[in-house]
């Protein structure tokens, strides 16, 4: 079958695809994990970005490299490091298990950790760039007007960098929504428990369940593109105001 026939077949399949064939559980889990991971990555990531943009200290570049590393590390390597850091034998993993009676790895918590670690560098890098673009004279003006560093950040830098920060958070959400490798390493691929949409698509294709895969592919693509569309609109509205 040539590629044109295959493409036509896919289109026909997509257009005639009944919505009831979409398995919702992995999609819902993906959205849940991505939302929680994005909130965590945004809070911690924006704080780190603000610190790196404003503080001058020895080793700043090293901190920047450590925070950004997840972007360049292969997912398997990052997943391995996470397993070592939060696995059942690690201090963190052991403490978590003692406190909550469940482990981090191979649970939904693990999926959130994996998505957060993958999304965080995008928040830090893009937010820092946006924060650093704010005119230094405005920051000096705020300080002389009695604003402490945190107030200066919240009322001046953060406000003026809001477009860049919003874009960074949206990018992080998209990254968290589509995470595959790190999630597989840290949370596993347990249907109904840790199987996110990306993992379910992979499983469906491996098992030759084309319809199930296509349903998730379409649903995931629509969700991701809708979020990006809305975020672009929000950014534009904020800019116009």
């Amino acid at each position: 079958m040539d590629s044109r026939c295959q493409a036509n077949r896919l289109w026909v399949l997509a257009l005639s695809f009944p919505a009831s064939n979409v398995e919702l559980a992995p999609l819902v889990l993906s959205l849940k994990v991505a939302t929680i991971a994005t909130v965590i990555a945004a809070v911690i990531g924006i704080a780190i970005a603000a610190f790196l943009a404003n503080a001058r200290f020895f080793g700043r570049d090293l901190v920047d490299v450590l925070v950004t590393a997840p972007v360049v590390l292969p997912p398997t390597v990052l997943g391995y490091y996470l397993l070592v850091a939060i696995g059942r034998r690690s201090a963190v993993g052991h403490a978590f298990e003692t406190a909550f009676g469940t482990s981090i790895v191979f649970t939904q918590t693990g999926a959130v950790v994996a998505a957060t670690v993958g999304a965080m560098p995008l928040v830090v890098k893009s937010s820092r760039a946006a924060i650093e673009q704010v005119e230094p004279a405005l920051i000096r003006a705020a300080r002389t007007l009695g604003a402490a560093p945190v107030r200066t950040f919240l009322t001046v830098q953060c406000q003026l960098a809001s477009r860049g920060i919003t874009a960074a958070v949206m990018l992080a959400f998209a990254r968290a929504l589509g995470d595959f490798g790190v999630t597989l390493m840290v949370a596993g691929d347990i249907p109904g428990e840790t199987q996110t949409a990306s993992l379910a698509i992979y499983d469906s294709i491996q098992g030759h369940h084309d319809n199930a895969a296509l349903g998730l592919v379409i649903a995931l693509a629509i969700v991701a593109m809708t979020i990006l569309y809305i975020s672009n609109k929000l950014v534009r509205i904020r800019h116009v105001r």
Partner: protein, 240 residues
């Protein structure tokens, strides 16, 4: 606490690591009233304002306001910028572009006081720009922006006022009006005021005292009435 004029004298004795040309090394006092800081471009005038405000950290020296120690290198004291309560009118004005005029002016007022907005509007009225109260800086004319920035600098009850070439890029008529406003409001505050300018008329109109900087050092200190004697204005308005 009300301080007497003597209590509010600003004493600056500081050394700041400069560029490859020279370090800034200055020592002078600024009593209540206007002290004009003169000097060729690059002589260290803006750096001097920044070190008074706490935006630049000296490598040595001591800065005091009355009995209050702001900076002492030997004792490791460095009061942060936001606790010095300095009214700084920047050359670029540095109005917050995302805030209205009234929000800009109210920014430096204590948020604990409920009437910050009303007082900010009062300051805008005093400076004849109440009509821009709810507009953002991108809609201001040059003169309106200057007045709003001046209102913001003065409205925060500053203990020291720093004016960095506030009348550049305005026409003669507006300059005269702004000079009158500065004279009236700044003098009413009865605090030390440091004005950086290249303009002889501005200096004459406002100076109670003057300090001339040359290559990062104090070259001369004098009374305002002596500005016309022995001051080489041509040298002060050219690059060093």
């Amino acid at each position: 606490m009300l301080g007497s004029v003597a209590d509010s004298t600003l004493c600056v004795q500081a050394r700041v690591r400069g560029d490859e040309r020279f370090d800034l090394d200055v020592a002078f006092t600024v009593p209540a009233g206007v002290t004009v800081l003169l000097g060729p471009s690059g002589s260290g005038k803006s750096t001097t304002l920044n070190l008074i405000a706490g935006l630049v950290r000296p490598i040595a020296g001591r800065i005091t306001l009355g009995q209050e120690l702001w900076f002492d290198a030997s004792r490791g004291v460095d009061v942060p910028v936001h606790r010095r309560r300095v009214g700084f009118l920047f050359q670029s004005l540095a109005l917050f572009p995302h805030m209205t005029a009234v929000e800009n002016v109210a920014y430096g007022m204590s948020s604990r006081r409920p009437s910050a907005r009303a007082r900010a509007v009062e300051w805008l009225q005093r400076l004849h720009v109440a009509h821009v109260a709810d507009r953002k800086p991108r809609t201001f004319s040059g003169g309106e922006a200057q007045r709003v920035a001046l209102a913001r600098a003065l409205a925060s009850s500053p203990r020291v006022v720093l004016l960095d070439e506030p009348f550049t890029a305005v026409d003669t008529v507006l300059r005269r009006e702004l000079l009158a406003d500065v004279q009236m409001f700044v003098r009413a505050l009865r605090v030390p005021v440091v004005l950086v300018t290249h303009d002889r008329q501005d200096a004459r109109a406002l100076a109670d005292r003057f300090v001339i900087l040359e290559a990062g050092r104090v070259a001369r200190i004098g009374e305002g009435k002596d500005l016309d004697y022995g001051v080489e204005w041509n040298q002060l308005t050219t690059s060093s």
